[in-house]
């Protein structure tokens, strides 16, 4: 049965009335209109749905809303805007890092969390961090280059 749940999303308190086993992905996309996290596999294997829970990259597709509690949820909508972009977004645009772009949201969120913990990473460290995400178009090299560029500019 639907229950009222309070969520902390991108710095705002939001209230939803949904069955408690509903996935974070469904609530964000369908109840709160935050469509940046994507459905890719439903099993936490591809990373397209990645959001941050208290700063940790988390697969939203297989995380039920009842497990979130008071944790802060961060999505790409909260990372930056065209007027005030996150350094990663600027770097992704500058290097035109993306083909179909379906995996980009999850990669940006994962990379954002990674750079907070490791602001001056090596190439291999970036690649290893992004192994949580799959890209099918073969854009891996540009994504790694873009994360390194963002780190360099922020350094």
């Amino acid at each position: 049965m639907p229950e009222t749940t309070q969520l902390n999303v991108n710095g705002r308190t939001r209230e939803v009335e949904v069955p408690p086993e509903t996935s974070v992905l469904e609530v964000l996309r369908n109840d709160l209109g935050l469509t940046s996290p994507k459905f890719g596999c439903g099993l936490g294997l591809c990373g397209a749905c990645t959001v941050l829970l208290d700063g940790r990259p988390t697969y939203a597709c297989d995380t039920p809303i009842e497990y979130v509690g008071t944790a802060e949820i961060e999505t790409l909508e909260g990372l930056g805007t065209e007027d005030a972009p996150h350094p990663l977004q600027t770097a992704f645009l500058d290097l035109q890092a993306g083909q179909c772009g379906y995996c980009v949201s999850g990669i940006l969120m994962n990379a954002a969390a990674f750079l907070r913990a490791n602001p001056r990473p090596t190439r291999d460290e970036v690649a290893a961090a992004l192994d949580r995400n799959l890209c099918r178009c073969g854009t891996q090299q540009r994504f790694i280059d873009a994360v390194l560029l963002a780190a360099e500019r922020s350094g």
């Binding site: 890719g40 596999c41 099993l43 645009l93 099918r136 178009c137 073969g138």
Partner: protein, 702 residues
């Protein structure tokens, strides 16, 4: 049809179909090609912008729609820049000249007195007119091809790179994909598929599931079973309950996946001679024969397919990420018994598709279900498992090749036979049941076998089967299987993937057997200067001939896509220890005139990394009754840590027609990797993919 026009424009000659001007001086651009993640809409927008003499941003692309867009068939085969680009350029040039004419009339001078610069038309000493000033003076509702216009194209300087028009939405998380589209009161549908092809539905707990929370409707039509609910999660749960309780007959048997080449050889086929010179073997100094193979490979789009439809008042609206909205409209209308004009298909971007995946199937699922709930928008979301089980795969193939080398070390005679399922089962190609659910609701045991596109479309099984090397005599034949137990269709580059891998592996084997350098051996059989240029360019860039580190191998490969498209040469560097690791790919391409330099690089990089993934990891797994590789653990693809560095070198040909870039690397990459593996560890792996198991098997056979 107007003669002398680019084919796409001749088929859709009305200029207003392509371009719509606005009073603010901007244009809407409508094309029939669709964005598949390859950047084509950006390239076509750039062409229109340049030819109209405008600044970036002044031309806005409009998503393709069967009501308003030119019918340009399917977006496939690396042909979009060549064909749609030519049409857009010509249409834009004619529109510019029509505006120039209007400026002349307004200025009271003859058109040849008007100068055009920086987006404005002006008579000597007269007031300048922008496009927006002349909107009411120009009627674009006329056909292209007015010879009095004396069309001349604007000079195009160095290839510029307009930024991708779609990336900002994707990088700032704005809704852009079909998956993000939503409508009031939209219902979420889930399909409950059979366990495999040929399994027929005996029963399902329909009454029980109909009472579950949120469930609004259940559709059963022979072997087609779907549930609609108000929320996605509730639809998932209802579908899981239906699936758990459904009973099916046995599936049609599948081949033995461990003996795919034997299965292919045992099948009834239709043989097509592609070239028959009467090759003679056994007469030269060396005659060699080898067989190469590839398994079934998945498109594996990162987004499972999605379709949305609404049926109201006898009209069906469909939203789809299809590669071909017009063929989809026709096939949908036929399957549902509707008039074509009562079906509207709107293209909305999906994730990268790389060929005929489940996009059309999902659109038809939504359309079929929508007819059961008139007035409601129905959204169908495929699961990852269904995508990896039911999408049409790139077919398994074998290539048998024999060559005879003369005393001069040159190949004189070459015989090649390619065998496997056909490469196209797109809606509209197959006579019936090209859409999956149409097959399920008809209760058929098997879908009709895929066919091969004709030579004018670059072949299917025979794509790149004929070497572009200068051999004296060649016999080339394809053998298309007449039964298709595993659903197959077009995957990026079609038969070229196996054919180029076989050809380029075998070239290395012959070079080695006759004591020749692989690069020199290829050059000795190539007179086309453009072919030679990509090979010498890549060789220089990758340091061909210099020593490699211990355990590192280097291999070279070359092809001209479809024998008439882009030239591409690849040098791979690999480390082969417990598994094969591709560390670097150096690539030289000649795609003719480059429209968007960064777009070409992005397509070449992406194609090369994807082909590396196919080469090292990918094979659809199945037992004797069903596909078993239904998630990313059972069907692994290349991860970031394993992606090679890719260096792209573009051989500039500003005066040659554009040739397309999207599929150029798919065949050469496995060839280069196989040759590099041999260089590293002395083992010739002839069966894709180069998994540890296949490498070990090759060592055992050697």
């Amino acid at each position: 049809m107007t003669t002398g026009l680019p084919p796409s424009l001749a088929a859709n000659p009305r200029l207003s179909t392509w371009l719509a001007p606005h009073p603010d001086g901007t244009f809407d651009l409508r094309v029939g090609k669709v964005e598949l993640g390859q950047g084509i809409v950006t390239a076509l927008t750039q062409i229109a912008t340049q030819e109209l003499g405008l600044r970036a941003g002044a031309v806005r692309p409009v998503a393709a729609n069967t009501e308003i867009s030119p019918d340009e068939g399917v977006t496939a085969g690396s042909l979009s820049v060549t064909f749609s680009g030519a049409a857009v350029r010509r249409a834009s040039a004619e529109v510019r000249l029509l505006f120039l004419r209007a400026a002349a009339a307004r200025s009271g001078v003859s058109p040849d007195e008007i100068t055009f610069s920086d987006g404005t038309f002006a008579a000597p000493g007269g007031r300048p007119y922008g496009y927006g000033d002349l909107v009411d003076n120009v009627d674009l509702d006329i056909e292209a091809g007015d010879e009095a216009l004396a069309v001349a194209f604007l000079p195009i300087g160095e290839a510029t790179s307009m930024s991708r028009v779609d990336l900002p939405d994707k990088i700032f998380g704005r809704p852009r994909f079909i998956h993000d589209l939503t409508f009031d009161e939209m219902l979420h549908a889930r399909i409950v598929r059979p366990p495999g092809m040929g399994a027929h539905l005996l029963g399902a707990p329909v009454d029980e599931v109909a009472g579950l929370p949120g469930v609004e409707h259940i559709v059963r039509d022979h072997d087609f079973l779907a549930v609609l609910a108000t929320r996605e999660g509730l639809a998932d749960r209802a579908a899981a309950r239906l699936a758990a309780g459904a009973t099916w007959t046995d599936t049609e048997p599948l081949p033995d996946s461990s003996r795919l080449p034997d299965w292919i050889r045992s099948q009834e086929t239709e043989s097509s001679p592609i070239r028959k010179d009467g090759a003679v073997h056994g007469t030269g100094s060396t005659t060699m024969s080898r067989t190469y193979s590839k398994p079934f490979v998945a498109h594996g789009s990162i987004a499972p397919s999605c379709g949305i439809a609404r049926f109201a008042g006898g009209r069906l609206e469909v939203w789809s990420h299809s590669q071909g909205i017009f063929p989809l409209r026709a096939a949908t209308a036929r399957a549902l018994g509707l008039e074509v004009e009562d079906v509207i298909v709107q293209h909305v971007e999906g994730a990268g598709c790389y060929g005929h995946n489940s996009a059309d199937d999902a659109a038809f699922d939504a359309a079929l279900i929508a007819t059961h709930v008139p007035g409601r928008h129905v959204r169908v979301q495929w699961s990852r498992a269904d995508e990896l089980r039911w999408e049409p795969f790139g077919p398994a193939m074998i290539g048998d090749v024999t060559a005879t080398v003369g005393d001069n070390g040159r190949v004189s005679d070459w015989t090649y036979d390619a065998s496997g399922n056909g490469h196209t089962a797109r809606p509209g190609y197959a006579p019936a049941h090209g859409l999956l659910s149409d097959a399920h609701r008809a209760g058929v045991d098997r879908v009709p076998p895929a066919i091969d596109p004709p030579p004018a479309r670059g072949y299917g099984s025979a794509r790149n089967a004929e070497p572009t090397y200068d051999f004296a005599r060649m016999d080339i034949t394809t053998h298309r299987l007449l039964a298709m137990p595993i659903r197959s269709s077009a995957l990026r580059s079609l038969g070229a993937h196996l054919n180029v891998f076989a050809l380029e592996s075998f070239m290395d084997e012959i070079a080695e057997a006759t004591g020749q350098d692989p690069l020199a051996f290829r050059l000795a059989h190539l007179t086309d200067p453009r072919a030679r240029d990509v090979l010498t360019t890549v060789a220089e860039a990758a340091g061909w001939g210099s020593p490699t580190a211990e355990g590192v191998g280097r291999g070279i490969s070359y092809s001209r896509y479809k024998n008439r498209g882009s030239y591409c040469a690849v040098i791979a560097e690999v480390e082969a220890e417990e598994a094969v690791h591709v560390t670097r790919l150096t690539i030289a391409v000649d795609v003719g005139r480059v429209v968007n330099d960064d777009g070409v690089r992005n397509q070449i990089e992406g194609g090369a990394i994807q082909s590396t993934s196919w080469s090292l990891l990918e094979q659809v797994a199945f037992d004797r009754s069903r596909i078993t590789s239904t998630d990313w653990e059972a069907y692994p693809i290349l991860r970031f840590s394993d992606a090679p560095r890719v260096d792209v070198h573009i051989v500039s040909r500003p005066d040659e027609p554009p040739l397309g870039a999207g599929e150029a690397t798919q065949g050469p990459v496995p060839g280069a990797i196989a040759n590099a593996i041999h260089d590293a560890i002395g083992v010739r792996v002839r069966n894709l993919p180069f998994t540890p198991a296949n490498v070990v098997a090759a060592i055992d056979e050697a």
